[in-house]
């Protein structure tokens, strides 16, 4: 981004709310501030961005005070001179051997204090920490081609500090490796500006560092599913021509890039990504090929497998239905531009990526793109359960087709568990990614979420489910606050994996009983995507979806429409 563009972006005002973010560094933030604000504004186009930079020169003090201030997150930029001024370019205290030993000791001590402050800050708000991006000054007598003792000690101290911090929830370390791609080391330091004005970065480096820090602090929601082609994509060769043994993914077969693709898919599938196949092939051949023992992705992790001779868009349609997610949460990978175009035309929301089978370098770029689209901060139990529960839903659908729904549900042996969701990061994740069964579509920042939980009379319940088809895990969140005798609900989401099991009815039953209230008020808003919630509300409110706003459901009228429920209820939650 050019500086001019950044200035243009930061001067825009929107009518939306203001997102406040800290930017802490040990120097005058100057262009870094402008670029960070611009990149955050691009990330949140409907919000105004306010950056708080604290007191100049007091990095530690700013970090320790920030925890008490209202903000959505913090970006902390470290440079060596913040760890010891003598490692910067603006002091003249000498770099004798004795001084260097002292510098190492001081850096160790400073890192210890910073670590304590950053852990405290991260317990209140998420933070992105960028390790030093400007190289060490020429303090050693050794030639630059040789790493010296002090340099290695400093790097080891820094590595330990970053490693310890990275294990804390809420701390995200900005990737030095990715920064090196967008901002080469040799083009980072503006020595003249550093000495003249105390701002150490070139304009291009300030832009790159700001962009990466913004992405690290507020990563985009990961995509949920990947649909892959087989021939010339998952493997080299055409299955129908070469046969099961003729296709390859190995160094020997000059097809190692396909093996890398399989490994990335396997690793992402393990983290909860849904993987499906859409292939124009004979289904029997595909089944045989997927049984090959050297396949690097477990075929059990692939669901569904659509092999046949119809248009790819039809296969994609069936896969989306089985997954029950929108096309805009999915990436389709195929080597054929024609197939990609056909699918894109039918599903404009789907992201179509070509597998460049003839170019290993471009394949590696594609793998990095996939990591960027699907990467997530952590893996939860629900991510591991996702595929199993989708298979269970498919089995449930098949089984329920043969008998009356009520009889079928009664034989499920279902158990619904309610417990407190306060402090459970899964609740925050579910609320921010669920679209279909979502009371109002409101998304929250981590700071807003924590504020909601601190409201007087606040409650947030987590709902888990399991039946004879297996556990679905934590699949719904129900929250709000008590207002005198009225129970007010402004948070209610349920994963689409849990539909058709009457969990929504059981949740309201539980809430009426738990709160002993005669009415529940809902902060409802119909959105383009919360059709299932609207359908449920139409059942609750005499066949009509209520208008946007606070709608009140009376316990008496709810009893009339609530079906007989057969779940076993486990109540672990205390009001």
């Amino acid at each position: 981004m050019r500086f001019e563009e950044a200035l243009r972006i930061v001067s825009r005002r929107t009518g939306g709310k203001t997102r406040t973010v800290h930017l802490f560094c040990g120097f005058v933030p100057l262009h870094l501030e402008t670029f960070l604000k611009a990149h955050l504004a691009l990330r949140f186009p409907e919000q105004n961005i306010a950056l708080k930079t604290g007191l100049f020169g007091d990095l530690e003090g700013n970090i320790s005070q920030a925890a008490a201030e209202g903000a959505e997150g913090s970006v902390v930029i470290l440079e060596w001179s913040d760890l010891d001024q003598r490692l910067g370019f603006r002091t003249s205290s000498g770099w004798s051997a004795q001084t260097l030993s002292d510098i190492v000791l001081q850096v160790e001590e400073k890192l210890r204090r910073l670590e304590a402050g950053l852990i405290l800050l991260a317990s209140h708000l998420p933070l992105a920490l960028a390790p030093p991006t400007i190289g060490l000054p020429p303090f050693s007598y050794l030639p630059p081609s040789q790493a010296g003792d002090s340099e290695l000690q400093l790097n080891a101290l820094l590595a330990g500090f970053l490693h310890r911090l990275a294990s804390h929830e809420g701390v995200r370390i900005v990737s030095a490796a990715l920064l090196a791609v967008t901002s080469p080391q040799s083009a980072r330091h503006d020595t003249k500006m550093d000495l003249r004005a105390g701002f150490p970065y070139t304009v291009t480096h300030a832009d790159a560092l700001a962009e990466l820090s913004a992405r690290c602090l507020f990563p985009a929601s990961p995509k949920k599913g990947l649909i892959t082609d087989l021939d010339r994509t998952l493997w080299k060769g055409i299955l129908g021509d070469a046969g099961v043994e003729g296709i390859s993914w190995s160094l020997e077969g000059k097809s190692q890039a396909h093996a890398l693709y399989q490994q990335v898919l396997a690793s992402l599938a393990e983290s909860g990504l849904l993987v499906a196949i859409a292939s124009k092939n004979d289904p029997a051949f595909v089944e045989a090929a997927l049984r090959r023992p050297d396949l690097l992705i477990d075929p059990a992790r692939i669901f569904p497998i659509e092999a046949g001779w119809g248009p790819k868009s039809e296969s994609v349609g069936r896969i989306l239905a089985a997954w029950n997610i929108g096309a805009d949460s999915v990436i389709f990978v195929d080597d054929s531009p024609m197939e990609l175009a056909e699918v894109a035309e039918k599903y404009p929301g789907i992201e179509c990526l070509r597998f460049p089978s003839e170019d290993p370098g471009a394949i590696l770029d594609l793998l990095w793109q996939l990591r960027a689209r699907f990467g997530r901060n952590e893996i939860r139990e629900e991510d591991r359960l996702r595929l199993a529960s989708l298979r269970a839903s498919a089995s449930l659908k098949e089984a329920s087709a043969t008998e009356a729904p009520a009889d079928f549900l009664a034989r499920l042996g279902a158990k619904v568990t309610f417990e407190s969701a306060a402090g459970d990061p899964r609740a925050f994740e579910l609320v921010n990614k669920t679209n279909q069964f979502n009371l109002n579509g409101i998304r929250y920042t981590e700071a807003e979420w924590k504020d909601l939980l601190r409201r007087p009379g606040a409650f947030v319940a987590m709902v888990s489910y399991q039946d004879r088809f297996g556990p679905l895990g934590r699949i719904a969140v129900l929250g709000g606050c008590m207002r005198n005798d009225l129970c007010y609900v402004d948070i209610w989401v349920m994963s689409c994996r849990a539909f058709s099991r009457q969990i929504e009815f059981q949740s309201l039953n539980w809430l009426f009983e738990k709160t002993q209230t005669s009415e529940i008020g809902f902060q409802f808003k119909p959105t383009d995507r919360n059709g299932p919630l609207q359908t449920f509300f139409a059942q609750c409110f005499s066949g009509n979806t209520p208008p946007e706003g606070e709608v009140v459901l009376a316990a008496d009228s709810y009893k009339n429409i609530c079906p007989a429920l057969s779940h076993q209820v486990e109540d672990k939650w205390k009001m």
């Binding site: 500086f3 001019e4 243009r8 001067s11 100057l30 500006m193």
Partner: protein
């Protein structure tokens, strides 16, 4: 020369978005509270990009008014 004024006006609009365009030509660090050393560095960086030239900040140190900046840019 008109080109210099036009580009410089564009830089002022970016760095001082709240300033009335009619006042650009008489603007200076003396009569504008928010024209401080930081704003000067922003302005010079924006000018460097707009004129596609490397700006020597020391050379422009005294150029703290629209008029002085215009003159300095015309000379170079």
């Amino acid at each position: 020369m008109e080109n210099v004024k036009e580009k410089l006006t564009g830089c002022f609009a970016l760095v001082f978005p709240d300033l009335d365009p009619a006042q650009y030509e008489t603007a200076s660090a003396q009569n504008m509270g928010d024209w401080d050393s930081i704003a000067q560095l922003r302005l010079l960086t924006a000018i460097g990009e707009a004129f596609d030239r490397e700006i020597d900040f020391e050379e422009f140190e005294g150029a703290t008014s629209f008029e002085a900046l215009e003159k300095a840019l015309q000379v170079q």
